[in-house]
């Protein structure tokens, strides 16, 4: 190949690739709004909060960003919104060992941010993040009614048992040693703040008494 031929290949080949990229970009731009919910003013305001506090300096979103803190793509699916709101405004009262500082985010800003995170969670991301293999496998191993309920209500989104599960709430591996009283657990599930001040846990008062008892019985076996 002569130098000139190489030069022409470089120039026209790159141009061709760039034109293909522009065509694909135009096509993609036409589909993006169909692959995500409608953007309300509050979602847009929330996105601006995201930029204002440079959230991406610690967190990833859609898997892009900084790897210092959890990915926010599915945050609203993994944590109750009430918990998120309290956490965003004052992380360490909710979780003492949190690495997140108090940024001075106002209540309005926190609401907007959660609306934005709600929007992000509904974007069609071609199946990312994938369901962890072991969590899916563990779901088939539930034995007692309490364990079944624990999974049905997705308690492991916030609570760990033997290393599996979220860290938003306390680890339940030995919760039976700390609170051995079934009645305490039933009260707690019905109205967390009545027994744990400042609790960020959502209440499960919508469950019937039988289910509440089954869950509480499961809790006291964890030792």
């Amino acid at each position: 190949m002569s130098t000139n031929a190489a030069k022409n290949l470089f120039i026209y080949g790159s141009l061709l690739c760039f034109i293909v990229l522009i065509v694909l970009t135009i096509d993609t731009m036409g589909t993006l709004d169909k692959r995500a919910p409608v953007i309300t003013d509050q979602v847009d305001a929330g996105k601006k909060v995201w930029h204002k506090y440079d959230c991406i300096g610690c967190h990833t979103i859609l898997g892009n960003g900084s790897y210092f803190a959890p990915d926010m793509t599915k945050a609203v699916e993994r944590k109750p919104k009430g918990y998120l709101k309290k956490f965003i405004m004052d992380p360490r009262t909710i979780k003492a060992d949190s690495a997140m500082p108090v940024l001075g985010i106002s209540e309005q800003e926190a609401d907007d941010l959660i609306a934005f995170l709600d929007w992000i969670a509904k974007v069609d991301t071609n199946g990312w993040p994938p369901k962890p293999i072991l969590i899916a496998a563990a779901a088939g191993k539930a034995a007692t009614p309490g364990q079944v309920l624990f999974q049905q209500n997705d308690c492991s989104a916030c609570h760990q048992i033997q290393g599996l599960g979220g860290t938003a709430g306390p680890d339940l591996t030995r919760i039976g040693l700390k609170h051995a009283d079934i009645e305490w657990h039933i009260k707690h599930l019905k109205n967390p703040e009545s027994v744990v001040p400042k609790s960020a846990m959502p209440d499960f008062a919508h469950l019937n008494d039988e289910d509440l008892r089954a869950l509480a019985e499961y809790m006291v076996t964890l030792k």
Binding site: A6, L32, D44, D54, G57, C58, Y67, A69, P70
Partner: protein, 455 residues
Amino acid sequence: MKYQSQKIAVNFYTAALLLFAVQVVVGIIAALQFMWPDFFILNFNTIRTLHINALVVWLLMGMMGATYYVVTEESETELWSIPLAQLQFWATVIAVSAVVIGYIVMGLFPQANIEVFGTQLLNEGREYIEAPRWADILIVVSVLLFLFNCLMTVFKTRKFTAVQGVLLGGLTFLALMYLPGMFYTKSMVKDQFWWWWVVHLWVEGSWELIAAALLAFMLHKLLGAEVRVLAKWMYIETGLVLFTGILGLGHHYYWIGTPKYWLWVGGFFSSLEPIPLLLMVWDAFRTTRETRVAVPNKIGLYLTVAHAIFNFVGAGLWGVIHTLPQVNKWTHGTQLTTAHGHLAFYGAYVLLIVAMIYVTLPSIRGVKEFNQSKGYLAFWWMTISMVFIVITITGAGMVQTYLERLLGLDYVTVKASYNLWFWIFRAIFGVGFLVGVLILVADFFTLGKKPLPAK
């Protein structure tokens, strides 16, 4: 030194190396914050913003300095306007300082980051391109002045060389690709779509063109290799860089809300991205072998070849291991990306600029021979440290992928489980890297200024 204009390059190199030192110091702070989040007055997000912005800016300044040198040498004339180049240098320094002060203020008082004309005043909160809109405009003006000055210089003598063509073409492409990051969009998906145009088409597009052009220039200057052959391979390399890199952009569009066909486009093209980088390695070795001349500037050649090798290893190999969608589905958003980022930037661009400094500085200072031992020392301190940093982060990424994506452990638990080992090692090697940088900076200031000991 043949041309007064080439002194401008030293200004840019000086600013670049000082920012390099700042970048590494804040990098060490960031590494410590992985263990102690409250370790420093500024939070991790601000520290990280400073770390990556310092990197990008010092590499750009290094490229500008190198380009001012190359353009005068290739055109065989002084710059079209030396005062304009000096103005452009100081304007850049002032703009960059203003942005840095803005970041620090925002880090200390987040509420100060108010919205002005639909964009944030101090920090736009968009990774790599956090610089606010007013700074974006200043940066664009600075780059345009720079390009204008270089192009006018080329037109003075009308010596259109291949190296100049690709170098200035790459820089123009670089300037154009900054624009997609300069507007606000309500959709985070579109935001990230255009953001990747900037970030990816810079580091896997225009910057690689600049690297290929500077590689050809250095091989010619060091070895006196034939320009025609160098130019031919440079065109083949840059052609392949763009054929694979432009549509390789698709590997960032797997999971961000973009259509499924990007999995095919990105997977296919980006898995070919290492090929041109391997060609550059072969090119560097072949040219060195074929010319068989005694090279007085051994350290320059050494760094040039090292840049080619680590460009291939860091950008090529470390990228290709997680570029296929079947793999990336599990590794996306983990520390593996950090490992790739560190080795790729170090190999492809840090070593490129350091090599350019060692190739051009002796000529600027008018010395044929100089003490090269410090250069080797700096190189090995930096390289060994960086290799260990990358091994450390790669290990962290593998553990993270396994625990988080396969076992389903919570991010915070996983981070705590490898905190101790991985982050302690990373911080230690970070200090090792800083030693290398300090040796480099010291050598830069003294190179060729002391008489050599009598042989």
